[in-house]
């Protein structure tokens, strides 16, 4: 017979032993709350992330590119759903989660508050934005909450084509006409710094990180992931002849990493606060879709009820 131990200690012991936490297991309220916030933010990001890309579906330069972009946007919808269903296992209703997005109470990744001005932006999003997201998501495949980890495994499997199709777009443009090359460089110039911001505040300014690491929700710090992303991406830019817009970027033989410049954190916090170029537009688009879909949701329930009644009769 084992001694009854404190629930919280037992919980941490499970985490330390690399055991996954499952929906019906006891968990501290703060763990549940952190997960609800993080997973729902992640889900909202997948859903809102469809908007900047959807902007280019009708104007993709070829049928091949259009089919690819459609498949990618469809994947993002699926990823949103896997994550929403993970949130729901924590006891928060889908309705509440969606309402928090619509009311603006819940956040999503600030990167989607930037506009997609040219076709090259679709390339830059796949290469850089999905590239940065993958770094984070690969780590989350080992997160301590079972349903979140399983959703991440599925998402990572699907996500790798997203990054490759984006890099391919950039690679083709950078071998094209002067105008096309300039378009690719311009997209990189605009998306580079916001992509680095996707990893979140510096470790020194990330107050919840330590607890999330202890609970193994996160496995690597924001700064570690950001550095790995930079080290990988610089080489990829070189291969296609594009220049990273950072004059301070320099290989450091001592650390075997790149030294690089400084993120404009004022811009970061400003966009988080709702003042990015597209915050209002994105929120309005989600609200419009939700409102205009209401009669469809109601009609489906009415139809299901009618059919059930016929079957019973």
């Amino acid at each position: 017979m084992t001694e009854p131990i404190n629930l919280e200690e037992g919980f941490q012991a499970k985490i330390d032993a690399e055991l996954k936490i499952e929906p019906k297991d006891w968990m501290p309220d703060a763990y549940r709350k952190t997960l609800v916030r993080q997973i729902s933010q992640h889900a909202h990001s997948e859903v809102v992330g469809m908007l900047p890309e959807g902007n280019w579906i009708t104007r993709a330069p070829s049928l091949r590119r259009k089919a690819i972009l459609l498949a990618k946007v469809q994947d993002e919808a699926g990823h949103g759903l896997y994550l929403y269903s993970a949130v729901e296992t924590l006891g928060t209703s889908r309705e509440k989660t969606i309402d928090d997005l619509l009311s603006g109470k819940a956040k999503y990744s600030s990167i989607f508050n930037y506009p997609t001005l040219t076709w090259a932006d679709i390339g830059a999003i796949g290469w850089l934005v999905d590239g940065a997201a993958i770094m984070n998501q690969v780590m989350l495949c080992r997160t301590s909450y079972g349903p979140y980890a399983r959703a991440m495994v599925r998402i990572c499997k699907e996500e790798s084509f997203h990054q490759r199709q984006g890099y391919e777009i950039m690679s083709v443009l950078s071998k094209g006409t002067e105008e096309q090359q300039a378009m690719a460089q311009d997209a990189l110039d605009r998306w580079w710094w916001p992509s680095l911001m996707m990893f979140g505040p510096t470790d020194a300014n990330s107050p919840h990180s330590a607890q999330s690491m202890k609970w193994k929700i996160k496995r690597q710090s924001n700064d570690e992931l950001r550095q790995t992303f930079i080290d990988r991406t610089v080489q990829q830019a070189e291969v296609i002849g594009l220049t990273i817009p950072d004059p301070e970027l320099k290989w450091n033989e001592g650390t075997k990493q790149y030294d690089w410049g400084t993120i404009d954190w004022t811009e970061f916090y400003d966009v988080v606060a709702g003042n990015g170029p597209c915050n209002k537009e994105r929120s309005a688009a989600r609200n419009k879709a939700h409102d205009e879909g209401e009669w469809v949701r109601n009609a489906a329930m009415a139809y299901a009820a009618k059919k059930a009644k016929q079957k019973a009769a």
Partner: protein
């Protein structure tokens, strides 16, 4: 906040990846009825031919054991090592057993 009665119910989805294998739980989704649940599951969980057959079960109809009771619940199996073939001593030289 009260729940909207027009919210679609929750379904748990099980997918058989190949004929001959078991159906495995993959996640959940909301749908108005079983047919819609199966069609949505196709779109959400089998975009890359991951499945050959889909089961949709209303989440309300799914019951589970309680993890906090696990110790006593599974206790009867704890001391019955003789349920495993390695428990038995076979005479030297016997084959195919």
């Amino acid at each position: 906040m009260s729940e909207n009665p027009n919210n679609w119910p929750l379904w748990e989805i099980f997918i058989q990846s190949k004929r001959g294998l078991e159906h495995k739980h993959v996640g959940s989704l909301h749908a108005a009825d079983a047919q819609m649940a199966i069609e949505n599951a196709r779109d959400v969980y089998t975009r890359r031919q991951e499945g050959n057959s889909i089961w949709a079960v209303l989440a309300d109809n799914l019951h589970s054991s309680r993890p906090e009771d696990a110790e006593s619940f599974y206790d009867p199996a704890d001391d019955k090592v003789y349920r495993h073939p390695t428990f038995y001593t076979m005479p030297e030289g016997a084959k195919y057993i």
